[in-house]
């Protein structure tokens, strides 16, 4: 049914464009979260070495 509805080409392009923009946004947020997580670990390590000195 959905496949049958994909007929209006203007709508199709708009829908794909929106989907790509949202996809990139989510991906970007995902990368940011991973970066924050990695930096947190580095800070914990740095704090530990500072404590042991």
């Amino acid at each position: 049914m959905i496949v049958a509805a994909i007929s209006s080409s203007a709508l199709k392009y708009l829908g794909v464009a929106f989907a790509i923009v949202w996809g990139l946004t989510v991906l970007y947020v995902w990368i940011l979260a991973a970066k924050v997580r990695r930096l947190e670990q580095q800070v914990v390590e740095a704090e530990r070495t500072l404590d042991s000195r």
């Binding site: 959905i2 709508l11 947020v29 800070v43």
Partner: protein
């Protein structure tokens, strides 16, 4: 806190991706075109969830502002700030998508007799000023207390603006449009709810990531100062 926030981000981020993808399919290929407004009505499925997110995070900002003033926990101050920041950021999207919809369905970019538009504008302006206050104060308990007080005032602005905007139009002008919600079909509701869930989970992830980023910056700052201090003390 970090553990649960980390797990929440890991779960909600893919969920947001999937939900938004499904929402796009539903919005553009599945849901029937609105009989009154035509194709432009489809922006409703994005505009309204974004507006709900904006109000929601401004509310989060105010709730944590109250909590800060009660408990003086710097973490609450940070949560309140990130909440307001998220609210204003989503609000900017509302201000961008609102006029587009207005132009397509009413033929004008702005309607001074539309309640939602004008209430939102007042609250948006109020909370934009929050940053002016916050960034002209030095970090510390004073900045936290003053920002919290201002954020709490903002919540009072919501009912006040709604009443005042309502009065400014309803007595003389008839309400022309009833934003369509009265005649929403099941398929429209489903599409709207999926889109709302997607935007909401993305918004929550963004909030958590920003909060953790801000806390991280604080920790790094403390670490740098500590290491400098110990280096100075070291040789002595």
């Amino acid at each position: 806190m970090t553990m649960t926030s980390d797990r929440l981000i890991r779960v909600l981020c893919p969920v947001a991706g999937v939900l938004l993808a499904v929402a796009m399919v539903l919005i553009f290929f599945w849901v029937p075109t609105d009989a009154d407004q035509g194709i432009s009505q489809r922006i409703f499925y994005l505009h309204v969830p974004v507006a709900i997110c904006s109000y929601l995070f401004l509310g989060v900002g105010a709730v944590y502002a109250v909590r800060y003033l009660r408990g003086r926990d710097p973490l609450d101050d940070m949560r309140s700030y990130v909440g307001v920041h998220a609210g204003v950021t989503w609000g900017t999207l509302v201000m961008l998508t609102g006029p587009i919809w207005a132009k397509k369905s009413w033929g004008v970019w702005w309607r001074w007799d539309d309640q939602q538009l004008n209430t939102f504008l007042i609250i948006f302006l109020f909370y934009c000023a929050y940053f002016m206050l916050r960034f002209s104060l030095d970090a510390g308990p004073r900045r936290a207390a003053l920002s919290a007080a201002y954020a709490i005032f903002g919540i009072a602005m919501v009912p006040l603006s709604i009443v005042a905007v309502h009065l400014s139009q309803s007595l003389l002008h008839p309400q022309l449009f009833d934003n369509g919600s009265s005649a929403m079909e099941g398929s429209m509701w489903l599409t709207f709810l999926v889109s709302l869930a997607g935007v909401l989970s993305l918004a929550i992830v963004l909030y958590l990531v920003e909060l953790r980023g801000k806390l991280l910056a604080q920790r790094i700052d403390r670490l740098v100062r500590r290491s400098r201090g110990e280096e100075l003390l070291g040789p002595a």
